[in-house]
Symmetry: C2
Subunit: 483 residues, 2 copies
Amino acid sequence: MEPNGHSFLDKVIGIVKEETADHVPLIDFKHPKELEELLSDDLDISKPTSDCELERSVRKMLQYSVKTNKTTFRNQLYGGTDPYGLAGSWIAEAFNTSQYTFEVAPVFTLVEMKIIKHILKLFGIPDGDGIFSPGGSISMLYALVAARFKAFPEIKAKGMRNLPEMVIFSSTDSHYSIMKAAHWLGFGTDNVRIIRTNDFGQMVIDELEATIQKELALGRYPVLVNATAGTTVLGAIDDLDAVADVCEKYGIWMHVDACWGGSLILSSKFKNKLKGIERANSISWNPHKMMGVPLQCSAFLLRDRGLLHEANAAAAQYLFQQDKFYDVRYDTGDKSVQCGRKIDAFKLWMIWKARSDTGLGKLTDHVMEIAEFCLGAVARKDGFRLVTECLQCPNVCFWYIPKFMRNADEDDKWWDTMHKITPKIKELLTINSRLMVAYSPLRHHKNFFRLAFTFHPIVEEREVLDMLQSIEDCGEMVTLSML
Amino acid sequence: MEPNGHSFLDKVIGIVKEETADHVPLIDFKHPKELEELLSDDLDISKPTSDCELERSVRKMLQYSVKTNKTTFRNQLYGGTDPYGLAGSWIAEAFNTSQYTFEVAPVFTLVEMKIIKHILKLFGIPDGDGIFSPGGSISMLYALVAARFKAFPEIKAKGMRNLPEMVIFSSTDSHYSIMKAAHWLGFGTDNVRIIRTNDFGQMVIDELEATIQKELALGRYPVLVNATAGTTVLGAIDDLDAVADVCEKYGIWMHVDACWGGSLILSSKFKNKLKGIERANSISWNPHKMMGVPLQCSAFLLRDRGLLHEANAAAAQYLFQQDKFYDVRYDTGDKSVQCGRKIDAFKLWMIWKARSDTGLGKLTDHVMEIAEFCLGAVARKDGFRLVTECLQCPNVCFWYIPKFMRNADEDDKWWDTMHKITPKIKELLTINSRLMVAYSPLRHHKNFFRLAFTFHPIVEEREVLDMLQSIEDCGEMVTLSML
């Protein structure tokens, strides 16, 4: 009756290979309106389309899509995928199922259990529990829900109104998801205390403790300290042992947002940077970031086994029947706030199965070594200036100062100009398809670049030098009249 | 240095095709412990594995996985995938990116805008707004957050403590995600008022209104009525126009959980079942259910354009910079509670592009017609008894009464036995790989079967008869001593 589409499926691998091949540029940038016009027939869904036309439209659309599998895609804290992970995600999509009951996902349930157990051990909380969530921001919600439920189990039935006023502690440089979570869960963003960071982007511990004492004196309940292992911009790792000391002293839930930096746990050489993480009450880690698992793959881990289930279970009669014919302890879905949940564990398992701890350790070492190399090159290269020389995660942050800006008085006006120059260089890098790189202001710092490195594809030293050269080339195209 | 995995990617389509081929059984059921033992070497990730060994393990694991692409997989409200959707999901995974800024997802941003606009029009709220969320339960969170923010914008900064006590209204038969949401967002599950349903599973409107009046008299704030279009078990559709009348009268946010039944909007013949949905303040619809888009694909729609952004924006400086070189109104990610977000719109777009409204309408008509056929066959067949004769969504609910139970006094003891017989039949159906079908108790009803139909693969009448025959065959294997 209808086109069945199965033959189209056979074309996918060819389309993907051709449209992401080596010779294909990183990006063919078009402005939104222009792109809408260019693709207007292709985007149109008002009439049925033959497979042939569909393929033509899809290929054209992919031409204008960003090739995140290129080494020159350094725009975010994710990049190309690990091919084993991509294979895993394709298989999982084809076996279309949900991670909630053993009966529909017998093997995938065991895979999730296996991989969570392995990760818990790596992070030093072998008796803990965990779940895969749709991204780090949702993991942040999980952490706050767990901490709040542990403190006040009556929240589940009674809500927030009759509980004491709760406060949350997080650093200036931490991820904004803490603010979204504070709103959603009913704490209110005013109840997030923002703790100052030092020059390297790490939470100032004395200020954390002083703020906690102040809040306690005011009769408020400190519900969670959100430490960060790998801040979004600088890649800073808070002093986790020091945070743990404070949390223990005052009996506060310690969460570590290790969404970005958690991957360092894979390296015997670099995992000491995360020292203290094993004392956390909960940890979030996104293997879809540095490690290159296809989006989404986010692990939320916690020390207190059983708490996730206790906090979140709703015991739906139609799904989690207790009169099933198998051991229903393998129906793990009621720990989740979601009902249907993608089997994100399988693609991570595929990578681990193929590479093991050893292979993943080597990839971690390489990513840190290439970032170190980049840091050194930026430090030495004329016109480049580091924001910080301290390499914590594989983030290298710097300004490029065009020749016409050098040897001038670096007053406020000069910095205002620099603030405009960075986005302008980025524009030129993008429209010339040279490099996609992040920029950001941070605290008192004016707009600067962040080059962050990920496992895939493996970046070589000469490619790092090319990236810096691209920045210099485009930086030298900038003139004052452009700003 | 490390195995690169690209050649493994070439094997995926072959593995998927062979492991889901026609001759492959629906399920080779093993109990959890037995399966763990059987797969213990395969699941092991302690040492690196060659591509060849990896393939052997993956194939073995897939053998024991459920083949949700078979017509005999009727265990959940999802099933096989639309091949165009699967192709779309594979492409999206390969182009690994996040749906937050135009710069990293130019085409996918336009795709999401296009498809949301199209869906809004279908649902009769053309000037509304929408977002793709990771599942219906998260959409429920979105609905409550939007309704609460609309009523009390100060919630964002100040939290729940100083707001009036809020109550939520939802029917007995509605989805349990309302309870999880009430906990997470700080309302408390005690503040969900459960409204009785009639025999067909529809909310009793008089009771809704009476309950609202009672709550108002007690000084509580009615924040949201959760109507359902397609309850999980019976597939009931609340009288949406009547709910809208009540909501309008009292000025309450009307949400329609159309996660399951929303697909009826695709059919000009059946969309009248959703009459009144165009009056809702918000709607959730999961194309990953009936329509066969690979999990996850969930749309959250709302009438009030701009509210999503206003409620959820955090304006992260590193991501949503306002000094970008393109029109930043195309950076749509700050509407979301998530930061990184999968591009779930693309696979849905692929299906729509290939089939258009016309093709999707035909698939909807077929699914309803096959459910009607099933309903008729169940009504006529000896030993089968319908829970309700009213077909609202393509859910057919019934008991199978084995011969030894017939012509007896249907007292409490008899029903207690029936309650045990249904899961026993399910066990036999599963371990004999005949059929995977849902069962559930509901209100005063003892365990019964739910056969629900989805777009893919297309189910034929003879297959429905086979399903019923399988239930009868396994039902007749049951003896009292087994229970």
